[in-house]
């Protein structure tokens, strides 16, 4: 064990012990609210810090050779040939149904199935499904299914058509990053009445589908789906964490995180993941009075004074905030990579190259942020799908006999949700550390260098954890 690790392990254990000891007095002071927590929220940040440092020490001492590269996948299930087109067809039907509901259903967002389908089930539910079952979205991806069907028909009618344009390496994940950023602007910066409006969402859904079809026509279905389709890529990155992978007509099993560890980074991956983490962080930050009182209200006032309408001022301020938060996340990560660069003597890789190579290690953190910030939304608002599916247009129908179902806010307590959020954050960051450690062992020539290179990644992980817990403490 190096001197550094010895020096760090003891304070970490002491911090964890202090956090546990402090549980009694805090409880005695009756620190309860909506959440009945046994310790002050800030102490969770300190406990998380201790857990991460201990995990780091454990990795440095017990994990001394790269492991993920040697792991093998095992075929578990052979799938019938009809399943893939069937899933694609189901995906097209669901997408068509959502678009139809957007145009034909009620304008009242709470009574129309579209907003909940998009912001809760699609945006939050599928990432969690992707972790559990692999890239399920790819199978049901409607625009990919249309693209593949169109390609199949064209092949039958016109034979070998023109070859698609080669997807430029430099473009990488940038179209996906732009798409996710655009969705984040819609979710966080556009006035509520517009972003929840079913017909607006339907129009945007059609525009998004059209862009995907153009992208696939230009670069080919696979190339565009793998890099340019924002949602496909977004869910696909989370699916790399999963122990299941769907490949052609086979379902294969692999160790947890192995898919992420073997992901080959391309241009724009750092940008995409920073947008993913930045948008979730900003969503949490906007719930705080710090954002409202210190930034939002004063800046909106200035824009209004400059002649903007209140709505436009609001959109500009929130878009600016989203960009700033993404910038903060990117800067933190790049600082960590610069630290990594300074810690390895004689290395030839630039900070940018290191940032690109280690970017996949941020994927579990991005998922942890999604769970931490939206688990409550999924737990409660997700139930609304029961009555929304029964009456998708909000016109008084009751197809499934569930139109009178109401959300049960008691099935999970606010305290339990908070624990899920904290556990997700700690697990996500610990997974990130493990991935970074393994990648460092592959990248650098000695265990000593690999461990030392990760000192600063540890700092990045601790910073992200503290930021997430601080945001949670503000928003709940």
């Amino acid at each position: 064990m190096t001197a550094f690790i010895r020096r760090l392990a003891l304070p970490a254990l002491a911090t964890l012990a202090a956090a546990l000891v402090a549980a009694g007095p805090a409880q005695a002071h009756g620190l309860v609210g909506k959440q009945d927590l046994p310790i002050p929220k800030w102490l969770f940040a300190w406990a998380a810090f201790a857990v991460l440092v201990i995990s780091f020490v454990g990795l440095a001492t017990l994990w001394r050779t790269p492991r993920f590269a040697e792991l093998r996948e095992q075929a578990t299930l052979r799938l019938p040939a009809f399943l893939e087109p069937l899933c694609g067809l189901i995906g097209i039907l669901i997408f068509s149904g959502v678009i139809y509901a957007g145009f034909a259903g009620t304008d009242e967002s709470a009574a129309n199935v579209v907003p909940t389908s998009i912001y809760v089930i699609f945006w939050v539910g599928i990432p969690i499904l992707s972790l559990l079952f692999g890239d399920v979205f790819r199978a049901f991806n409607p625009w990919r299914a249309v693209g593949r069907a169109a390609g199949w028909v064209m092949g039958r009618v016109a034979g070998d058509g023109p070859e698609p344009v080669a997807y430029p390496d430099r473009l990488g994940y940038w179209p996906a990053a732009a798409g996710i950023f655009g969705f984040a602007v819609l979710e966080l910066a556009i006035p509520v009445t517009d972003r929840q409006d079913p017909s607006t969402l339907a129009v945007l859904g059609l525009i998004y589908a059209a862009v995907q079809l153009v992208g696939m026509a230009l670069f080919g279905v696979k190339a565009w789906s793998d890099r340019g389709d924002a949602f496909g890529v977004y869910f696909g990155l989370f699916a790399t964490l999963s122990p299941l992978r769907w490949t052609g007509r086979q379902l294969v099993r692999r160790p947890l995180l192995a898919g992420t560890a073997t992901l080959v980074p391309a241009a724009g991956l750092v940008g995409l993941i920073c947008v993913m983490i930045g948008s979730t962080s900003f969503d949490g930050f906007t719930a705080s009075s710090l954002w409202t009182d210190t930034f939002a209200v004063p800046l909106q006032g200035r824009f209004v004074d400059a002649g903007f309408s209140r709505e436009h001022a609001n959109t500009l301020v929130f878009t600016g905030g989203l960009i700033a938060m993404t910038g903060v996340i990117s800067a933190l990560y790049l600082l960590g990579c610069a630290g990594m660069k300074s810690a390895i003597t004689g290395g030839t890789d630039s900070t940018t190259e290191l940032a690109k190579r280690f970017a996949p290690t941020l994927i579990p953190i991005a998922l942890a942020y999604v769970v931490a910030h939206y688990f409550g939304l999924l737990s409660y608002q997700g139930q609304a799908m029961a009555y929304l599916l029964s009456d998708p247009l909000g016109d008084g129908s009751d197809y499934l006999g569930q139109a009178d179902y109401r959300i049960d806010y008691t099935w999970i307590s606010a305290t339990a949700i908070y624990y899920v959020q904290v556990v997700a954050l700690i697990a996500g960051h610990a997974a990130g550390l493990a991935l970074a450690h393994d990648r460092a062992l592959l990248s650098f020539s000695s265990v000593r260098t690999a461990t030392r290179s990760q000192y600063w990644m540890l700092a990045v992980m601790v910073a992200f954890t503290s930021l997430a817990l601080w945001l949670l403490s503000n928003s709940s």
């Binding site: 710090l290 009182d293 210190t294 000593r448 260098t449 290179s453 540890l458 700092a459 601790v462 503290s466």
Partner: protein
Amino acid sequence: MTSPPLAHAGHWAVGLIYLAPVAILVVTLLVISRRDRLAEAEELRQGGGGAAANDAGGS
């Protein structure tokens, strides 16, 4: 009606408790990195730079 940032010093102060672990870790890392670098330079100067030379990264 807007209020100056100073009026929200309480928010910032609470935020500092969350920032403290990061600050402690960064300071510790800076000190340790400096010591490591000095020890490495000393090692190289004394001619026993095998371990230090092996540190050179490369992928």
